[in-house]
Each structure stands twice: as C-alpha cells, then as structure tokens.
C-alpha cells in the first residue's frame, strides 16, 4: 500500500482504498486484525486523525469493525461487499477513461473489442 | 508555585563552587601555617608572629562574585523549565539566605581549626575573624561565645547583602543595551574615582569626600566600634538590592 501525497485523491480516501485493496486481494482476511491507527500514522507519516478518518469510512460501510481494547478487524462478508461495490464502480472507474483515451488515439469500437479478446486469451 | 524546584536548582548551582572555595581556602591557610612553622623552626630565636586578620574577607569576596555569576545561566535554565520569574526570584532569595546562614558557620569552623593547628604546631599566627579585626576595641571584655555570635551575625548580614549586590549588578548590565553598558560600566567608575574627587578638591575643598567617608564610617560603625550599625546597613542594602533586582527581573526578556 502506498500513499501518494501528490495524488489528487485525499489521503484518507487513499488509506480507505488501500485497505479495501488488501481485503480484496486476501492480504487482510476476514476476522483478522488490520494495522492500528498508530501504525498507519507512523508508517505513512500522516496525522492519526487522517488515518482515523479513512478507517471510519470503512467502519461506516461495515467493512471493518472495532473490538474494544483489541483493535480493528475485517468484518465477515467484507470481501463480498467490496466486490459488489467495485463491480458497480467498474464502468466509471475504468471504462469511461478507457474510451476517452481510445477516442484521443482514434481507436474504433472494433479495435477495443479486439484488444479485450486478446486480453482474455492470455 | 514551584519554589522548591527553583530553590533546589539555584542552591545546587552554588554547592560545588562553595566546596571548591573552602577547599582552596583551607589549603592556602595550611600552606601559610606550614611555611611559617618552617621559618620558626629554622630560626634560632624561635618566635615569629604573623596574623591573618579578617579571614572572612575572602568569603565576602567569593560571595560577591558568586552573586555576579548566579543570574545568567539560572535565568535561562529556569525559564526553559516553565518557572515564572516570580518563583525564580523567590528561590533566589531563599538560596541567598541559606548561603548566608551556612557559610559563616563554615568560616567559624575554619578559624577554630586553624587556631588549633596553630597551637599544635607552635607557630604564632593569629587567626582573626572580620569582626575581631575591625571591631578590635569592642571585643575587649567579651566572652568567646559572644565573639563567635557577633562574628557569625556580621558575616551573615554582610554576605547576603554582597551576594544580592552582585546579582543586582549583573541584572543591571543584562537589562541595559550595549550603549547603556558602556555608559554605566565606564561612567560609574570614572564619576566616582576621577570626576568626583577632582570636583571635590577643586570646588568643594574636599567636603564631599570627607562627608562620604563620615557616612561610611557611621553606616558601618567603625569609629564608634559598633557592629550593629554594619549589620543594619547590610540588611538595608540586602533589601534595597533585592527590590531593585525584582524590578529588573520581572520584565527581563530571554535574549538571543
């Protein structure tokens, strides 16, 4: 997980998405503990309040939860929830940008479809 | 108020140099004693007298210099550690009083020890305290005990006044800017040692000098052989210097 201070995405969003990516990839499995606010803060040199904000987004979406006295844990079913969310966002996150770039390069719809098929063959 | 920490620090600051001072002083006196006894035993008539009068003058000078040096470092250190100027000053006064109470005791002990060694070694050096030296007429007919008490009290009041005087002088220079320091540093000695005497002899027929001398004489009771005068003057000096020091310190900035 990397934090890019120059990115347009605010830092707490980057923290939230970084944790989501780790859950989706299986690096953080369900019911396992994620790093503490202090660890995030110290590792990425960010204010703990910022780290907390990012984690709170995940808490609000029932992706992680807090066990009193112990720390933050990945909720059961988090992976599925995130997959659904990412599926919904897939079109906006990837397709829109892809088609805009294709337009800039004068690639036709056929060109794109050929490329996608090539991708699936590999 | 955190007076305890303020007092503790300022007193500790002096402890080491006090020990060194008395160590050096004792060595010096012992050296004198040893060299004198060497002289005594090497001459035929075997009788030699000497006197070290006003032994506490060394302590008086030491205390004045200690007062001069006490301000700068402790000011920075205490302000760094969250002590207000008020508490700093309160600790200062307590330190001065403690030193004023303890040092004369050490002086008395030193004199007693020296006198003992003097007797044992057969030399004939007379060790005298400041009180005995200056008020030599007063001590006639006084018991040993009274002499010790008077010596102790005289030292106490002199020390606290000289220590506060030194502290105040440093404070004055600290508060002044560069120009002011030159004016005071050069101006005061020039006025008192050159301008005043010249003016006095040329226009006043020496009346200023003589009245000044008379003033000092009365304040310290020299002619009258009255140590009480000196004690009262010292206490007044201590109070005046303390008040002025407080006025100077309460608005003193940390520099640099």
């Amino acid at each position: 997980m990397q934090i890019n201070f120059n990115s347009d995405k605010t830092i707490f969003i980057q923290i939230a998405e970084g944790i989501e990516d780790a859950i989706l990839s299986g690096a953080f499995s369900e019911e396992s503990q994620i790093p503490s606010i202090t660890e995030f803060s110290v590792t990425y040199k960010i204010n703990p309040a910022t780290a907390l904000k990012g984690i709170n987004i995940l808490v609000d979406n029932d992706i992680v939860y807090k066990k009193r006295g112990l720390g933050m844990f990945v909720a059961t079913g988090a992976k599925e929830k995130l997959k659904e969310k990412r599926k919904d966002q897939f079109y906006d996150s990837y397709i829109v940008g892809l088609l805009a770039e294709a337009k800039r390069l004068n690639l036709s719809e056929e060109d794109i479809k050929t490329m996608i098929e090539r991708g699936y063959e590999q | 108020m955190n007076i305890k920490a303020s007092y503790h620090y300022q007193f500790e600051d002096h402890k080491k140099s006090i020990l060194i001072f008395y160590f050096v002083l004792t060595c010096v006196y012992l050296l004198m004693l040893v060299s004198m006894s060497a002289v005594v035993y090497s001459t035929d008539n075997g009788v030699s007298t000497g006197s070290i009068g006003g032994m506490d003058i060394s302590t008086l000078i030491y205390v004045f210099i200690a007062g001069l040096c006490a301000f700068r470092e402790s000011f920075g250190m205490l302000l760094q550690n969250g002590i207000s100027r008020k508490t700093l000053f309160a600790g200062r006064i307590l330190t001065v009083l403690t030193i004023g109470l303890i040092l004369p005791v050490l002086d008395r002990i030193l004199i007693v020890v020296m006198r003992l060694l003097n007797q044992l070694s057969g030399t004939n050096i007379r060790f005298a305290s400041l009180f005995e030296q200056v008020y030599s007429l007063k001590i006639i007919g006084m018991s040993q005990f009274s002499i010790i008490i008077y010596s102790y009290l005289l030292d106490l009041f002199l020390y606290i006044s000289m220590m506060t005087l030194g502290y105040m002088i440093t404070l004055i220079f600290y508060r002044l800017n560069n120009a002011g320091r030159i004016v005071v540093g050069a101006g005061v000695p020039i006025t008192f040692f050159i301008l005043l005497p010249t003016f006095d002899s040329m226009f006043m027929n020496g009346r200023i000098s003589s009245s000044l001398l008379k003033c000092i004489d009365t304040s310290f009771g020299f002619s009258a052989q009255q140590p009480l005068n000196a004690m009262i003057t010292s206490v007044c000096m201590f109070l005046v210097c303390s008040c002025l020091s407080w006025l100077l310190i309460r608005r003193a900035n940390i520099k640099g």
């Binding site: 934090i3 201070f5 120059n6 990115s7 347009d8 605010t10 830092i11 606010i37 202090t38 803060s41 110290v42 990425y44 040199k45 960010i46 204010n47 703990p48 309040a49 910022t50 | 108020m1 955190n2 920490a5 503790h8 620090y9 470092e73 920075g76 250190m77 302000l79 760094q80 550690n81 969250g82 002590i83 207000s84 100027r85 008020k86 508490t87 608005r251 900035n253 940390i254 640099g256």
Partner: protein, 281 residues
C-alpha cells in the same frame, strides 16, 4: 475549553513590527503547523506564548489562565527552540534529571530509550554536542516531558535525513498513544504536510491563514497543461500564481473546481508548499 488563547498580541523591536495584533487559539490534542518565511514572526510568537519575552500589548491564556507569573499555566507548556537555555557545562543526563524536577510528568525511562534510539551519549556535556545532537537532546526532553502543550521551533534543525525520519515516527507514535497539542514551527513544509492537522501562516507579522489543512487545500486547485490552454482557462479565475517550464504551465487557483474540464488540461489538488510560497511571496 482547553486551549492556548493568544489575544491581540503585538510586539515591536524598535521600529520593526514582529507581531501585529495576532489572535489565535491552539486547541487541545491537535498537531499545528506554524509556517512563515524567515523573520515573519514565528519564533517571536512562540517566545511570547511561553513568556520568555514580553509582548507590547495583548495577553496569552493557557486553559483560561493568564501566563504572567503563573507557574501552573507555564508548567503546561514546553518550548524547544534553537537557543539552548541549558547551561553548556551540564551533562545531557543531568539535563534529563533536572527536567524531572521541574516537570513531574517527565518520563525518564522513555527519554533514556529515545537517547539510545538516536545514539545520543548522555554523558556528554551540552557544549560538546554537534548542532544536530543539540537539537536531538532538546527534542528528547520535549517528547518526554508530557505537558499538554508542546511547542517545537524548527525541531529538525541540523538533523540528518535518518534522524529526521526517526523523529517524525517517534512524534506520531507518541501523539497517537498520548494525544497532546503539538505546535511545529518549520520551514520544511513538505516534510510536515502529512502530519499537521491545522495550518497557521504568518506573513510579515500578521496571520494570513488559520484553518485546518483540509479546508485550506480544498479552497483551490492546480491547473496544468500547455501554456496556451492553461492561460485560456485561467483568464477569469482567481490566480494565486503560476510556474512555467518551456511551454508547460501550472497555475494555482483559488476557487471551486468546475465539473467541466476542458481538453488539454489537468486538474489536481493544491500542494501545501506551493500554496505557501505563492501566498507569502
């Protein structure tokens, strides 16, 4: 409310004005960045807050109490500054032990562990420390003193990159576990931009910005692209400043972003250091 309240502080040095009617509030448990150019008034402000120097007018309150002659209020502050007020012949370990006398909350064990981490020889006299280690020993005291308000004036002065990294780690660790108010005055804006929650910018003795980092940076955006495209876009915008290299230009704009982004330009967020430079030029 627990805070350091600075009210209408004015300080002049002769004819130069160092602080001009400055009013601020430092709330509890936040990390503040105090930014300003050389000579802007940052150190003066910190010295006035800790009563090391006297303002010409105005007052400072700590948790509602005035600081003047007030040990209780002053005991809640610790200022680590460039000037070393410790006696130069004092050994570092004695500076630590005296700190315990003055600040009962001083954690001696923690200070010792920090000294080890920084490889500081506590047997050394303060005058024999290098510039970097001089800062380090004062930093260690500041981190161990456990006062509700810790003020750091150029804390990483003279520290090498490794020690700076170590310092920030330790600072965040400590802040995370024992929240307090930390005010960092620094020139190294890029290094602290992630740490600080609130930003205060002083320009020529006046406060020009006093808000959260988030608020400050969300007030505008950066526009980059070819110079001609950018110029077209910014023609009716509130432009703070711009940087040009060859035919490429980046302009810094105050205002809300348009949802419609024209071809050929890129929008990104404001950078704190760039914003600071443009605001204080």
């Amino acid at each position: 409310m627990n805070c350091i309240e600075v009210k209408n502080i004015t300080k002049n040095y002769g004819r130069t004005c160092a602080l001009d009617n400055v009013s601020l509030c430092f709330e509890e448990n936040k990390i503040y960045g105090l930014l300003g150019r050389n000579g802007a008034g940052k150190s003066t402000l910190l010295n006035v807050i800790t009563n090391r120097i006297f303002a010409d007018s105005g007052e400072v309150f700590v948790d509602g109490q005035p600081i003047e002659g007030n040990d209780a209020a002053l005991g809640k502050l610790y200022l680590m500054s460039e000037k070393t007020n410790y006696p130069e012949k004092m050994k570092v370990k004695h500076a630590f032990s005296w700190s315990k006398n003055f600040y009962p909350g001083f954690d001696a064990a923690y200070a010792a562990s920090l000294a080890e981490k920084f490889e500081l020889d506590t047997n050394k006299m303060i005058k024999s420390l290098s510039t970097g280690y001089n800062s380090i020993f004062k930093l260690i005291i500041a981190l161990s003193v456990n006062t509700p308000y810790v003020l750091l004036d150029e804390p990483v002065l003279g520290l090498d990159a490794n020690h700076r990294e170590l310092f920030y780690r330790i600072l965040l660790e400590k802040y995370s576990e024992h929240p307090c108010t930390i005010i960092i005055s620094t020139h190294l804006i890029e290094e602290v931009s992630g740490l600080i929650e609130n930003v205060i910018i002083i320009k020529k003795s006046k406060i020009i910005k006093d808000e959260s980092c988030e608020e400050l940076l969300s007030q505008g955006y950066t526009v980059s692209g070819s110079a001609s495209n950018v110029d077209t876009y910014i023609s009716n915008q509130n432009v703070l400043g711009a940087d040009t290299i060859g035919g490429l230009k980046s302009a810094y704009i105050l205002g809300t972003r348009n949802t419609e982004i024209p071809e050929g330009i890129e929008i990104s967020k404001l950078d704190l250091q760039k914003l600071f430079i443009k605001l204080t030029n």
